[in-house]
């Protein structure tokens, strides 16, 4: 798996061969608490960078998941729905959807793990 990149809205991205997998970070999962529902995008949907792609709902909150990278949704992780507790247990193993990138250079704008950790310390 490629090295992860991170966003300020607490998504992680792993990109390989022009396809990016996107999930939520440990920080996001901990903040949300027990996740009870995810709403995934339709494959084929075209997303703008920064656009809403999915919804994650916990017992007390619901949040949008944004895609930091523009592209077309190629695949969604339907397996998540049958075991939502995995998202809280190992968030970086749980991708929500995959996007065929329209501009792979957008990836360079995202934070490295070191940068993201520093960003979290400042919150």
């Amino acid at each position: 798996m490629a090295e992860l990149r991170f966003t300020e809205s607490h998504e992680w991205v792993s990109a390989e061969n022009g396809i990016a997998s996107i999930g939520i970070t440990r920080y996001a999962a901990d903040q949300l608490g027990d996740i009870v529902h995810v709403e995934l995008p339709q494959p084929g949907k075209k997303l703008e960078a920064g656009g809403e792609a999915a919804v994650v709902e916990s017992v007390k909150a619901a949040s949008e998941i944004y895609t930091p990278l523009a592209g077309e949704v190629t695949e969604t992780n339907r397996g998540l729905e049958s075991d939502l507790s995995r998202i809280n247990a190992e968030p970086e193993q749980c991708w929500f959807f995959r996007v065929k990138l329209s501009d792979a250079t957008q990836l360079d704008r995202l934070m490295t793990r070191q940068q993201y950790d520093d960003y979290l310390k400042g919150l």
Binding site: V36, H37, E57, S58, V59, K60, A61, A62, E64
Partner: protein
């Protein structure tokens, strides 16, 4: 906290902050003609005078209890046991609002849970919410819910859906998508299936419809589902579900109905209580509040407000609806009445209603010129009379009979509705009422 009115200084500071020169600037978006209207009102009066004036206004009403009453068309007069009023007036119930810290009010949540259970059983649907404002707003919410479920935004409305419901749907969902209304067709089958296309989110049909006709909806459900659309079933007479096939048994995806008939008085039009139920798979797209049953840390039964992340205090503009409340007291009255009746009691009540209506229809249609338009009905039917129905109603009122609702009041200007009278009979109508109606109608038409 004391109430401290704003000083001129405060106003100036605020206007400056928002960049307005004077307060009138804040109303610039309101069309000129609608600004500062002049009202032709009498000068203010003292409490005693106001009471006298309003009493005089109120005396102009004729209440259902003062005459032989046969009006329905969306609101029905039924007997309400005295125990319902006694119980809902207990302070624990009467003063409690849908709670903001819900789990502390276990009793309130339990009554809502029982209510939902009853609504689900009555409609034969897997899930029901803690109630809506009334049947019509529930129907509009059902259309918006169908938009969310299907990702489409076209709704087909039966022409025999209560026109007030259709109007409410147009008000609440008209900006969210296209709404197609079929022509009104009293007592006849509608060709709704032909109006459903690949862009249709739902078809909305009332059963019994506004004219009283009871229908088999399975073919319509199949036609909707074949196009990927949902069937929304509406009802205005909850007691009918004690006798006729419930929406859930005929393929309904969403059900929205009026619950006034059980436990709630006519009260000149409200407050009423909306019943709302759906298939399990659409649960997360349901509007309104949901009470759920769970166990506490010690394994004891408890109740919660569940799935509240759908609601507007959390999801803001993305909430499933703007309804974060319910008709709590009316829902409680419904639940208490349902509990007092029980399964068998409700069926008996429904049979009694049907029997009264059949007796009335038989007597009235024996009058020359009076024709039954809706051969299959529950406790409400429509008659074709040999003169404008509105005139018949007015004339009978002079003889202490409220003969029904003229269809022309609901369908303004529809020629086929001019001579159509919508008549309801319930368990509250005595043999004497039915006899008086028959005699007076014969006289008026003679």
């Amino acid at each position: 906290m004391r109430y401290l009115p704003l000083t001129d200084e405060d106003r100036r500071a605020m206007l400056e902050q928002v960049g307005a020169a004077e307060i009138a600037d804040l109303f610039r978006d309101v069309p000129e003609a609608a600004r500062d209207p002049e009202f032709d009102l009498p000068p203010h009066q003292g409490e005693a005078e106001v009471e006298r004036i309003l009493t005089r206004f109120a005396a102009q009403n004729t209440s259902a209890a003062e005459c032989a009453f046969f009006c329905g068309a969306g609101a029905y007069r039924h007997h309400i046991p005295a125990s319902v009023d006694y119980l809902i007036q207990r302070s624990e119930f009467l003063t409690s609002y849908t709670p903001y810290q819900p789990e502390i009010a276990q009793g309130t949540l339990q009554t809502l849970f029982e209510f939902q259970t009853q609504v689900a059983a009555l409609t034969a649907m897997p899930v029901a919410n803690a109630s809506m404002y009334d049947g019509s707003t529930g129907a509009a919410e059902a259309v918006l819910m169908a938009h969310r479920v299907t990702g489409r935004d076209r709704a087909v409305l039966s022409g025999n859906l209560h026109p007030h419901y259709a109007e409410t749907i147009r008000t609440m969902a008209g900006l969210a998508g296209e709404i197609v209304t079929a022509p009104v067709s009293p007592g006849k089958a509608e060709e709704l299936a032909a109006l459903i296309d690949d862009k249709t989110a739902c078809v909305v049909v009332q059963n019994p419809d506004v004219f009283g006709s009871v229908r088999e909806l399975t073919p319509l459900a199949d036609a909707a589902h074949a196009k990927g659309a949902l069937l929304v079933v509406v009802f205005t007479e909850a007691v009918s579900l004690g006798l006729i096939s419930p929406p859930g048994a005929m393929g309904a995806d969403i059900v929205a109905g009026e619950g006034q008939s059980l436990g709630n008085a006519l009260s000149f039009g409200g407050p009423y209580v909306g019943l709302f139920a759906s298939k399990q798979e659409y649960l997360r797209q349901m509007p309104g509040r949901l009470a759920g049953q769970t166990v506490d840390i010690n394994g004891r039964r408890g109740f919660v407000l569940t799935l509240s992340a759908r609601e507007q205090h959390i999801r803001r503009e993305k909430a499933t609806s703007n309804i974060c409340t319910n008709s709590g007291l009316c829902a409680l009255a419904f639940s208490i009445h349902m509990t007092l009746l029980g399964d068998i009691g409700l069926r008996k009540l429904a049979r009694l209603n049907h029997a009264r209506a059949v007796a009335l229809a038989t007597r009235l249609t024996a009058i020359p010129g009076v024709e039954l338009v809706t051969p299959v009905f529950f406790n409400e039917f429509s008659l074709r009379v040999p003169k404008p129905a509105a005139e018949v109603v007015d004339e009978l009122l002079d003889h202490d009979v409220m003969a029904g609702v003229p269809a022309s009041r609901l369908y303004n200007g529809a020629a086929e509705c001019e001579s159509l009278l919508i008549v309801a009979a319930t368990e509250t109508n005595t043999e004497d009422d039915i006899g008086r109606y028959t005699r007076e109608l014969a006289t008026v038409l003679a």
